[in-house]
Symmetry: C2
Subunit: 410 residues, 2 copies
């Protein structure tokens, strides 16, 4: 490594544009006299602990460029909580050993917690380290930022899927009455709500949307489905995987347990299946359910042009803030006033965002708790705009792999 | 209606290109002196029985053109078995009343059964009726045709989804070991097999594919998953919803019953969920499952250029064959010899295709029954080629609705 190095890493669940932020970090770091080596840690902070770094300056230009439309974490990611003081101390020792002056961590609230622990340890160790968190999450649940890169593309994919599956479903309402589509989002319904963007008239799907933010009642659900079927002929329902009953019990867990990750978060994704069976068994209707699961985080062939530009911007600006002496902060997006949509970046202390969640404001959900209000639409609408043409070869998208990580597989 | 009319209708589950065939019928019928009125029956044969016809000549040109990229059955579809002699006789009476000389039914094997019953009744009633079946099904299970329009687009969507979700999964193998993606196809694994098109190197997803054609053993599955995880670090598995154990019991039904349609077909779609839980509980690994469900049949933003052209061709040629006196046949696609891919149309008697299924040939699946052989790849590869640019508005595809069907929605 060189005299002054930076390390970039990716943590948590990837998004379709997470590599756009990696691209932003790399291209901005390359422009900077202050930075010699640009290294990627493989599998997030786990790669730091393993001293598993790759030299990003050695990647071919076409691979770097391909990061702007390639899904998944190009550097690999992790779900790993930096817990012990010993481990955190080890991170600082490794950064010292490799002359790492800047650490960029692209991730969600768990990763911001990790970044914050490293930042605090660097202060305590009197080691001069610029730690910058770069927001990414399809869940859109980070505080202090207007929205999170990754959300817009996932929202575009979900709205497109609901639009298309809705065209399919409407032709068969008489025979297959109900369709349920489940969105990710452990405690927040941002993606469930974004499906409303697909609706262009009062009869269009989605007809009902349910949020983790609002206690879910099966009785009310039954009434809602009945009413919509009577009015429209069939019902297209979008449901957040994290919906809970009045006592806080997750519907995703009502038919069996699920594994837990290192942060104590349980894997969800079975609320749609539960409701499908409820409709079949309790209402006697034919129902089908769609579970896009990780396709929501990886459908890069449908990324939003606005989203990928912002993902790159937060990556680039992270380097700028770091070089200007900022540390212990996460980049935020600030929506500017005015009639046309535009965001600039700012920063917020990592300690303020770590392990906290921003929920959909209750006034943005209707009183019945089964659809969004226009404030939600106005908020989400600009984020899914603009299309990106992904190159293809032999009928499929042509994504890239980092040359020096590729060999690590197996 | 005019002096000589044709009726076109859509039956069974729609595909992303089913309206391409409708478009083909309309534009070819418009060119024909022999045909006055061009009518669409709403909701397939059910619409015929209800005398629910719309005048397709009254649709604006931009709506007709939009059919070439709009998913769902633009005329509505049905799952309805024409059972009694009385009902079949009624269809003939209605066609006689409305001077319907040609009936085009776009559908799968159930719809071909319906078309065949109508054809036979027309012979018995000495009513001169040209009945032509137009093949469509993502399941690709119709006999006597090289493949079915709709399959190529669904295959392209599934391969793209596996490619993208595979990029996502590989960065987290250490933490989320196994991903399962379930494809539709009640008794055939054509779509499951097509996911192999996503694989570009030996470590790429999918790693394992399971077919309804091969009895599924949980013990063997466990061994397969273990081996792949050891070799690659994680496993990406594609499974047909119709997999069965050695005794023929469907895995989709092992965790509860499911409704049955008018043809006696049970609704499946829970094999992936079953296997996910098996891996979690019996192998102690974190697993996630993707169930694209009806998105496989409706993701028109990813239709294959080859597929939509053929969907139009079978629609156009159906009219040509009908006007030339053919009746009681389904249009087939015949792959021509030669190094470059090309199909022409032919016909086969409806009685031969009705209610029968074409399975994946066993020699196209490897001996272990957990992946395809190169013969399968060579077969499926040309069908997903070429991209189609779907128009967009406000960040989403701009699909059309028939003006005279739209008003039927409440």
């Amino acid at each position: 490594m060189g005299k002054v190095n930076c390390v970039v890493a990716q943590g948590g669940g990837p998004t379709a544009v997470i590599n756009g932020s990696l691209y932003g970090v790399i291209v901005q770091a390359m422009k900077r006299q202050e930075i010699d080596g640009i290294y990627g840690a493989i599998n997030g902070v786990v790669g730091v602990l393993r001293e598993n770094f790759i030299d990003l300056r050695k990647e071919p230009q076409e691979v770097i460029d391909g990061l702007t439309f390639t899904p998944g974490a190009a550097l690999g990611s992790c779900r790993y909580k930096l817990a012990s003081e010993e481990e955190i101390g080890k991170v600082i020792e490794i950064f010292r050993k490799y002359k790492v002056r800047y650490f960029f961590y692209i991730g969600g609230n768990d990763s911001m917690d990790t970044a914050n622990r490293i930042y605090e340890a660097s202060i305590n160790a009197k080691y001069d380290l610029g730690v910058i968190g770069i927001p990414k999450t399809v869940d859109n649940d980070l505080l202090f930022t207007d929205h999170c890169p990754g959300f817009g593309s996932a929202a575009k994919y979900i709205a497109t899927s609901v639009l298309e599956a809705g065209y399919h479903a409407r032709g068969l309402y008489e025979f297959e009455r109900v369709t349920i589509l489940e969105t990710v989002g452990r405690n927040t319904g941002w993606l469930a709500g974004a499906s409303a963007l697909a609706r262009r008239s009062s009869v269009d799907p989605p007809h009902l949307i349910y949020f983790p933010e609002v206690p879910f009642s099966l009785d009310q659900f039954k009434e809602d489905v009945k009413r919509v079927c009577n009015e429209i002929g069939g019902a297209f329902i979008v449901v957040g995987e994290g919906i809970r009953d009045e006592r806080g019990e997750l519907f995703s867990l009502k038919n069996g347990s699920s594994p837990v990750d290192s942060f104590g978060h349980v894997f969800l994704g079975r609320a749609g299946d539960f409701l499908r069976r409820f409709i079949i068994q309790e209402m006697g209707l034919v129902a089908q359910n769609i579970k896009l699961d990780i396709c929501q985080q990886s459908a890069a062939h449908l990324i939003s042009g606005v989203d990928i530009k912002e993902a790159q911007m937060v990556g680039e600006d992270a380097v700028k803030y770091a070089v200007n002496g900022k540390s212990g902060v996460m980049i935020t997006l600030i929506r500017e006033e005015g009639s046309s949509y535009r965001c600039k970046t700012s920063t917020v202390e990592l300690s303020k965002v770590a392990n906290r969640e921003r929920k959909v404001p209750r006034p943005w959900i209707n009183e019945e708790g089964n659809f969004v209000r226009k404030e939600f639409i106005q908020y989400a609408y600009p984020l899914i705009q603009e299309e990106v043409k992904v190159p293809t070869r032999e009928g499929l998208p042509l994504y890239v792999k980092l040359h020096n990580y590729r060999v690590k597989e197996k």
